[in-house]
Amino acid sequence: MSAQATEAIDTKTLWGGGTSPFKVSYGKMMMWFFLISDALTFGGFLAALGFMRHSLADSWPVAEQVFYHFPFVPHHVHLPLLYVALMTFILIVSSVTMVLAVEAGHRMDKKGVTKWLGLTVVGGLIFLGSQAWEWSTFIHGSDYGAYKLENGAAAELREDGSLSIPLSMRDKFANYEDYDASTATLSGASAELIKESSEHVHGANLTRNEYGHQLYANFFFFVTGFHGTHVLSGVILNLIIFVNVIKGVYHKTGHYEMVEKSGLYWHFIDLVWVFVFTFFYLI
């Protein structure tokens, strides 16, 4: 203790004048600290999602049977999760253009930064538009809606009047007389009985969900919504920095560290989506 107290270290050597024990600037370190706290929030969301879906496994919808639409493709063509996969790819590509902008910044290549950062903003906007489309599709629901049983299970109505049973809920319908296990559909008298005795639900929001348990819809809106808010603020941040790059603000300062800092945030958004893609959609 006393030995340390006698070694007087002037603060300029330690923190004040361009030195840091971690060899990073203040701004970059604070961005990392913010990202850790943000990652804990998302970690909490995804852990809660895993917990709830496990305890409600027999009324939890299967994402493949919910997200099968594709823009400009007729509804009867089922393309399970393909559009979500495309959105994932778009976000990864926009992460690549961001890291290329950072690299161009290291070479003081103003033209390169402008090009790659501009493309990153475009990628972010495409992703946001895709998410808006996906929300609208989910809220709108399937073509004919579904019948919800009291235990939370759902049976989707088909054009011909039969009921299609989602994968995780098949045990609940296996005892019905007219249940066809090979196609997982229910028709005839049992289908009519369900239609008379249970509620017809069309679409999904925070108070009803035609696909199965209500919490599925709630988690969908909260997890993808919280991520989408991050994408929106990331696009705005990148746009402001993009304008500054064109104006030559960072070129005059002599470094493009601002692009690096917003780059950290943008990569984090991509990182979160990689986890959302796996734990909300794929598994």
Partner: protein, 117 residues
């Protein structure tokens, strides 16, 4: 006095054209890896969908594990290469990763162990 445990850092960590070529090569390499991982995930979803193999089948458990493994690979490349955490000082790297890993592993542990209804 001079200290030997502090490091000079510079905001203008510029690199030359030559280093730039190298850096870009690395970026495209990682892009390729991330794309392949995503394509494998999509292929798994197309050829081994949960709806066809059943959610209680042993095969589905392996597919799930494959998804988690691919996700971890992607996360590793994004954090270490794209976010440059692999190039930072070891102390900073662990100050960021260790507390996070500790909290999340504890959360998952407590959910798995204490959550029996």
């Amino acid at each position: 006095m001079e200290r030997d445990d502090t490091y000079e850092y510079s905001l203008d960590t510029h690199h030359s054209e030559e280093e730039g070529v190298k850096a870009r090569k690395k970026i495209w390499m990682v892009t390729l890896i991330l794309s392949i991982a995503t394509i494998v995930e999509v292929m798994l979803g197309v050829f081994l969908p949960k709806t066809a193999i059943g959610d209680s089948a042993a095969l589905w458990q392996s597919v799930k594990l494959a998804y988690v493994a691919l996700t971890m690979v992607k996360a590793g490349y994004i954090v270490l290469i794209f976010m440059h955490l692999g190039d930072e000082k070891k102390a900073l790297k662990w100050i960021i990763l260790a507390p996070y890993a500790l909290f999340i592993m504890y959360l998952l542990f407590i959910l798995l162990i204490e959550a029996a209804a």
